[in-house]
Symmetry: C2
Subunit: 206 residues, 2 copies
DNA sequence: AGGAAAAGCGAGTGAATGCTCGCATTATAG
DNA sequence: CTATAATGCGAGCATTCACTCGCTTTTCCT
């Protein structure tokens, strides 16, 4: 029964220290992406920084893209964790409180790892694109569900259009605030931006 | 007087057909960026598509980045042309009409060459970044100037904050509308989005 | 016409990089 | 203890690609 020659098709199966290897590789990739940019991120360098060999790298990741995709997913999961729990939190809150919370959370999420976020947002070469779409759709669905549950507080308007506009707006303001205005980010400024953005969105919805 | 050996330090001096060569190179770069993505955009391929030799390419552009930067600038200039004239147009218009025009123009601008816009927005590796910042600042300044001239129609609010929020919002909605919703872009939908976005921004300002 | 400069050419070079493959080391099972 | 699998290694291969250089062709000027 020599059915399975020692063929390890590469990539799956993690049992012990190999978990650490995989983690080290993903972490190293993130670090290099931030510190050197996507262009300088080579597999040899990733392996070097992770303290493993290129060979080991290719045992768990079939390509450089797979590695970058892993970093993107990890980052997106962090963000989605925050966003999901926020949306649970606000389920029964009135519109103005809820929107304020969403705006705050959006900024917090962007502040998790701004440098990484910037690189991922600006230099994605191809991979992970589908996953990002999926996350966007999930956010849209969750926000829409909240709106739907609070119809009475909202004027007559197509909920998909309203969701699209609100999500785009909040995301953009959070993004630009954290990434383009890093300097002028006093707490007072942030509070002003949250106040004003909330005002705009709430005013729009009702 | 052998002062000037046939040294042509590369890059400047365009007099006749060379202009056509330069144009062909920029155009070819844009085409390849759109059709193959940044990763596959090599100088040899650019020269091939442009119908010139690599040598000629390097007579006018000192590096691949210079070529990409030229494409970015050309595209940005197209957009800024539209935006600038819109801002002149609206100078004396009332707030609601003016905002509506701005929203419409933003979408129009994104529709000039959506594919190229996407590649430039998503895959910029480094170059052109400074120029993009400059354009953003110019837009901010122009919009702020309009707001300043129409203070009476606007509630008491820091004009920089208001401008930041409005510009971010309009840009994001236009961007997402054209790039992520390309499918569902009936004229009716666009009109709805323009209406609602205008309503939100105007409601916010006064 | 004739000479010089501008424009154009494209095979070739050198460096970077993604990835493989045969082997060494470590862990697990019987 | 020994066999077997899992994990790890890293020199090197193959390829790609930005860019150079010596040369030819075209244009301009007198």
């Amino acid at each position: 029964m020599a059915r399975k020659p020692p063929t390890k098709p590469r990539k799956n199966a993690l049992q012990e220290r190999s978990r650490a290897t995989v983690d080290a590789l993903v972490e190293a990739t993130a670090r290099i992406l931030v510190r050197e940019g996507f262009e300088k991120t080579s597999t040899n360098r990733i392996a070097e920084i992770a303290g493993v060999s290129v060979g080991s790298l290719y045992q768990y990741f079939p390509s450089k893209e797979a590695l970058v995709a892993a970093v993107i997913n990890r980052h997106n999961e962090e963000i989605m964790g925050i966003v999901r729990s926020a949306l649970i939190e606000i389920t029964d809150m009135p519109l103005d409180k809820a929107v304020r919370r969403l705006v705050t959370v959006a900024i917090e999420a962007h502040r998790i790892n701004p440098e990484l976020h910037r690189v991922l947002a600006e230099q994605i070469p191809r991979a992970g694109k589908l996953d990002v779409e999926a996350f966007n759709r999930e956010i849209h669905t969750l926000v829409r569900a909240y709106f739907d549950g609070h119809r009475k507080e909202i004027r007559k308007i197509d909920l998909d259009v309203a969701t699209f506009i609100c999500v785009s707006t909040i995301e953009a303001i959070a993004h630009n605030t954290v990434l383009n205005q890093a300097a002028m980010l006093s707490d007072k400024m942030v509070r002003t931006l949250v106040d004003e953005t909330t005002r705009m969105v709430v005013g729009f919805l009702r």
